[in-house]
Point group: C2
Chain length 262, copies 2
């Protein structure tokens, strides 16, 4: 059997999340339907990371086993012909049998996008968290420093997860702000400010990036003092952290597998 | 009775066009449902311009008659609370009874957006015409000059229209190109080039802007010589012009009513 790794880009707007569920439309379902058609054999995939309804991906990873002799370049082309136009396979590679998209060690990077504008902007609605208030980005950066490192992130986890441990390592958090002018070449076509929060770590608890984003936004709004982050972490209580930022601003950017052997 | 003019922004991605049709989801249907709920009385609107399935608007205009005493600022707020989050009412104004969104004289501006990238970009799919070939923008500009003025645009009209005359005045065509770098603050998050074609006129035939865009793109690709545009116009034959560019790149940008009395 061959073990095939695929890297996938998707616009999650019209999907009920990445993982297969009965009777709703998911990213996993679309890919498995396409693969099953292509390989003429029921084929299941293993996704690296769960993304909720409305969450996007620039580089989701999955793997599947197959005995097909079809070369990887042809699998890529054929899959993309079968997939709907909001899912695109960027790369198809044959990997060692040891590779497991979910359990092999990796660094994951998520990016959370915020658009600050005076009025509601419908073109940002599905791709940014659209807010209408000033954010103090310097305070958000100060707060983010407390999150870096190995911590028990229980305060930043939604219930409904069965994680074995709530300790995770965050390697970096990069917050950038970018003024945008009204510009008809952009989809937004509105003036405002874009703030992006990029978080890299060895893994994330259920909704952890969205709760980090929501907490940092509350710091930016002056509702939470940046110095309070250690207290929130040490409390191990979800109620201490900020709100969960909406899914539409979240993108799974990249997954880098850290073992050489694949 | 009061005559109310509304200016509407919408993301047409998930709609079957602007005009009401039985059993499919349209922009007009959503607005009439919201108005009927708000005013507690079946309320129909008149839309200024028809936009097909997938076409977007930064500034569509409509009007409706009502005997409600609700002030316009409250109508705006209440309508936006009732509408889905891909339709937004920018402005609500009371106008003279003579005003008719469709038949009052106006200048309409449409903008057509093209994204040129090496690979398919799923985040551009619903907001740009995503192509993967070089466009000679200088030749497109030369070609566009022949379209400006008062012409019989029969060659640039899809069948299925019952226009009284196929003569229209185009006041301007502005073509811009804009190199974009890979940038995670943008939805596209890809390097490439954006080309926008902005067309202003006193009115447009069915699919006219999309056929103009498709024809100019074929000029940019070297498939049609820019000097051939007068021959295409004078032939009065749809088969002479280029392909119809897809709806997802088209935006109704603005409608300016040219009579003072409203």
């Amino acid at each position: 059997m061959r073990n095939i790794k695929i890297t996938i880009q998707y616009d999650g707007r019209n999907y009920n999340g990445s993982q297969i569920q009965p009777k709703v439309n998911t990213i996993q379902n679309e890919i498995e339907v396409a693969l099953t058609t292509l390989l003429r054999k029921k084929t299941d995939i293993t996704l690296a990371g769960r993304t909720d309804s409305g969450v996007h991906a620039y580089g989701q990873v999955a793997n599947f086993s197959t005995d097909t002799p079809i070369p990887t370049s042809r699998i890529k082309r054929a899959l993309n012909n079968l997939l709907p136009n909001d899912i695109y396979v960027l790369d198809v590679t044959e990997v060692s049998v040891d590779f497991h998209a979910r359990f092999s060690k990796s660094n994951k990077t998520y990016i959370y996008k915020i658009f600050i504008s005076d009025e509601k902007n419908i073109f940002s609605n599905f791709y940014y968290y659209n807010i209408h208030e000033y954010l103090n980005v310097e305070e958000m950066k100060k707060a983010s420093l407390h999150l870096i490192g190995s911590h028990d992130f229980k305060s930043f986890m939604s219930s409904g997860s069965n994680a074995f441990t709530t300790v995770r390592d965050i390697y970096s958090i990069t917050i950038k702000e970018n003024l945008v002018e009204k510009d008809f070449s952009s989809i937004l076509c509105d003036s405002g400010k874009i703030v992006t929060i990029e978080v890299q770590g060895n893994g994330f608890l259920y909704n952890m990036v969205r709760i980090i984003a929501g907490t940092l936004i509350e710091v930016g709004l002056g509702k939470i003092d940046s110095s309070k982050i250690p207290v929130i972490i040490d409390g191990h209580d979800r109620k201490l952290a900020g709100h969960i930022a909406p899914p539409n601003g979240l993108y799974l950017k990249e997954i880098l597998y850290t073992e050489e052997k694949y």
